[in-house]
């Protein structure tokens, strides 16, 4: 019996990575849920929006690196983040002006907007691959670890080690800051409140003199900022590849739906729920059990519920369970 080592092992391979991954998903899901709540459609282009913004961040990072500008132990990408946000915000506003705005003014069924978002997804995907190519890009620099396995072992004297990579640490901190800032904005500022009002009851918002175009613009800018932050953090943590970002759509939507579409609190909870489930279900528990069970009881197999290749199945399974037991999501989303 060795619960301390078991916990450290778990923290290293499940808790810390899931916390980081969950933060990335939560930020992505927040963007999806904001667009859903206010513009009233599921934006299938969100994954590719993330890719677009991250691409700009990567290109800016390269320029900064070439110019010798950096942040020391922190990744240069943090410096490039604002550029990516501005670029994606402009891109999203252009998409609004050229595509989405037209349909919203017609008050079409939401599914038509979803179709249009698929068109935008194709175009964005094409642009990203045209500019940066379909391959992997790594743009992480600065210090690699806040503390490494070896350092942790020396410090604690335990058999198991725990590492915290800079990308993971930054993800958790940045996500926390962004979420707090978002909630402050939505709950404390006039614009934020007007966005929530618009999401609640569009007609009454119009009667109250809330300018719909402004609400829509601010929503796209916020969604863009969230997408770039989520995409950049994911890229720092796991590397950038356009196709991977497209595929993030599934866990992100699962997170948003599980939490209740249109509900920001739910999106965050959903993000962490999906991430932790994915990690615990695809983790090989053999060594963990070895620490906890008496000598000789260690299971022979990997004690892994599903192989890592089936991580999509986890998002899907959670989604299905929620759909069956609580169709409006854990935090009561909008039912439109």
């Amino acid at each position: 019996m060795d619960p301390i080592n078991a916990f450290v092992l778990l923290a290293n391979f499940v808790l810390v990575p899931a916390l980081a991954y969950g933060s990335q998903l939560a930020l992505g899901a927040l963007g999806v849920t904001l667009v859903y709540g206010i513009l009233r459609f599921s934006n299938f282009a969100h994954g590719d929006f993330m890719a677009f913004g991250t691409m700009v961040v990567i290109l800016t990072t390269w320029v900064l690196q070439a110019a010798g500008i950096g942040l020391g132990v922190l990744p240069t990408a943090l410096l490039a983040l604002p550029v990516g946000i501005v670029a994606l915000a402009l891109y999203a506003l252009a998409a609004e002006k050229l595509v989405f705005g037209f349909y919203r003014r017609q008050r079409v069924k939401p599914v038509v907007l979803v179709m249009a978002s698929i068109g935008v997804m194709f175009v964005t995907n094409g642009i990203v691959r045209l500019i940066i190519g379909p391959g992997d890009q790594r743009f992480e620099d600065g210090g690699r670890f806040i503390f490494s396995v070896r350092e942790f072992r020396e410090w604690s004297g335990l058999a198991e080690g725990l590492a915290l990579r800079t990308a993971q640490g930054i993800t958790i901190v940045v996500a926390l800051v962004v979420m707090v800032a978002l909630f402050w904005f939505l709950n404390r500022t006039r614009t934020g409140k007007s966005m929530r009002a618009f999401s609640d009851n569009e007609d009454l918002a119009l009667l109250s003199g809330i300018n719909p175009d402004r609400v829509v613009r601010v929503t796209w800018i916020l969604a863009a900022a969230l997408a770039v932050v989520a995409g950049t953090l994911y890229g720092l943590d796991k590397g950038f590849r356009p196709f991977t970002y497209f595929q993030l759509l599934l866990p992100i939507f699962a997170a948003a739906i599980v939490g209740g579409l249109g509900n920001p609190m739910g999106a965050i909870a959903g993000g962490y729920l999906v991430a932790f489930s994915e990690m615990t279900i695809t983790y090989a528990w053999r060594r963990f059990l070895g620490h906890l069970l008496p000598e000789g009881w260690t299971p022979e197999g990997l004690a892994q519920i599903l192989s890592v290749d089936y991580k999509f199945a986890v998002s899907f399974a959670i989604l299905v369970l929620v759909l069956i037991f609580r169709p409006t999501g854990l935090f009561r989303g909008k039912a439109v």
Binding site: G119, F122, L130, I257, I305, F325
Partner: protein
């Protein structure tokens, strides 16, 4: 019914475009486009049944076509005897345990009252089932995968004629669709979209990772062909004469003959499907489906079981996609799980349906072939465009080389633009619903 010259001229234009490819590029390229275009048209037809007739938003097309493709392997490949004796029993028993577990879990959910006892029973059932499944299944599939892994390492198929795989592929896809539909239909369209997106990713993961089933990422190649191949055609006495008359090489002539054979086969299937679909669309059933699509509440109020009708059409449409998937694997002669990408197999089909005209079967056919034509031809066109547009950068510009290297992705951009333009300026598509 009056002759619709507009539609006929659209098809004629497409035909002329293909003729130009035949003349200026090569007959084989033209026929390659036609064959895959016909398969795409069938997929589009399937999606059109769901979307155009019933307004069901399915973004899991890729999964259903892949399941259909799997059928081609399971039906036509010769069985691997050693693998069967090594682990078939265990694998099948394991699968049955898995199915029984899920069945038991569903029973528990349905029969017990909500609350902690139900949750605990559910967890216990799933835990026991999973442990049993692992104990039986894992050794069995390890044994199967150890049998001659370089070329086999899977159970193989039934060794039956490959054409049988087409209806079977449709059936497999129908089964998968039934399960998804049971869960997600009747809920909001967004949920169905995400659920279908999810199931398609899972089906592809299964195909990639369950090596014992269809060799996973190692691919199954050499799937038996329904028609003689070019090599056999070359042996025919009449071929050199035909090649002489056409002024082509023997190789090319043989190739074209084979491709025409497939095109005929596909045309027969497509014709049959269109005939059935048109009949269905104009039957009382078709009118009811459209009534449901246009006003679900009213249809419900009239006593129509909307959810059940939706499930029916969802299964039918997915089965059509499965059929097309089996046909595609038959045409390729191989199953390559890594080739299944949602942009290509799900969203491109959507572009076909939207551009062609949702709700109209002929529109789907036109959209299917036209978009596939563009998908193939945009790549060289895009390269040419970038070549011309960046000429001022100079021959040895790195940016120019980089853009030219990525020119293939112009096709995604073009497809998106085509879809957005049609949605905006001709939302009912090229051949609108009547």
């Amino acid at each position: 019914m009056s002759v619709n010259w507009r539609n006929i001229s659209l098809f004629a234009a497409l035909f002329v475009a293909l003729g130009m490819v035949w003349t200026f590029q090569s007959p084989t390229l033209a026929l390659t486009i036609v064959n895959m275009g016909l398969i795409s048209a069938i997929m589009a037809l399937g999606v059109n049944m769901q979307w155009g007739y019933a307004g069901i938003f399915n973004v899991g097309i890729m999964g259903f076509t892949a399941v259909g493709g799997l059928a081609a392997v399971l039906i036509s490949m010769p069985p691997v005897g050693a693998a069967w004796s090594a682990g078939a029993f265990g694998a099948i028993l394991g699968l049955m345990i898995g199915a029984a577990t899920i069945f038991a879990a569903v029973l528990v959910t349905r029969r017990m009252v909500p609350g902690w006892p139900r949750m605990l029973t559910l967890i216990a059932v799933l835990g026991v089932g999973w442990t049993l499944n692992r104990a039986v299944f894992v050794p069995a599939i390890n044994a199967i995968e150890a049998v001659n892994p370089a070329s086999e390492g899977y159970l193989g198929g039934l060794g039956l004629p490959v054409l049988l795989a087409w209806p079977v592929g449709a059936l497999l896809a129908a089964g998968a669709a039934w399960m998804v539909g049971k869960i997600a239909l009747g809920l909001r369209s967004d949920y169905l979209a995400i659920a279908t997106l999810g199931i398609s990713e899972i089906l592809i993961s299964v195909l990639r990772n369950e090596t014992w089933l269809a060799r996973g990422v190692k691919n199954v190649t050499g799937i038996p062909r329904p028609l003689p191949g070019p090599a056999e055609v070359r042996q025919q006495d009449w071929l050199p004469g035909l090649a002489d008359t056409l002024g082509w090489s023997v190789n090319q002539t043989a190739q074209v003959v084979v491709q025409l054979g497939y095109a005929t086969l596909f045309l027969i299937v497509l014709g049959l499907l269109i005939w059935l679909a048109e009949k269905a669309l104009n039957s009382p059933w078709g009118r009811m489906m459209r009534a449901i699509r246009d006003n679900e509440t009213a249809a419900r109020a009239m006593g129509k079981d909307v959810t059940k009708r939706h499930l029916g059409i969802f299964v039918l449409g997915s089965a059509t996609c499965g059929l097309a998937g089996a046909m595609m694997v038959t045409l390729d002669g191989q199953l390559v799980p890594t080739a299944y990408e949602p942009l290509r197999f799900t969203f491109l089909i959507w572009v076909m349906v939207i551009v062609g005209g949702s709700g109209n079967n002929w529109g789907s056919v036109l959209g299917g072939i036209l978009i596939w034509f563009l998908w193939v031809q945009v790549e060289p066109a895009g390269r040419w465009l970038i070549d011309v547009a960046t000429i001022w950068l100079g021959e040895d510009s790195a940016l120019r080389a980089h853009l030219l290297g990525n020119a293939a992705h112009m096709r995604l951009l073009t497809m998106g633009l085509a879809m957005l333009l049609v949605l905006r300026f001709s939302p009912r598509g090229l051949i609108p619903e009547r």
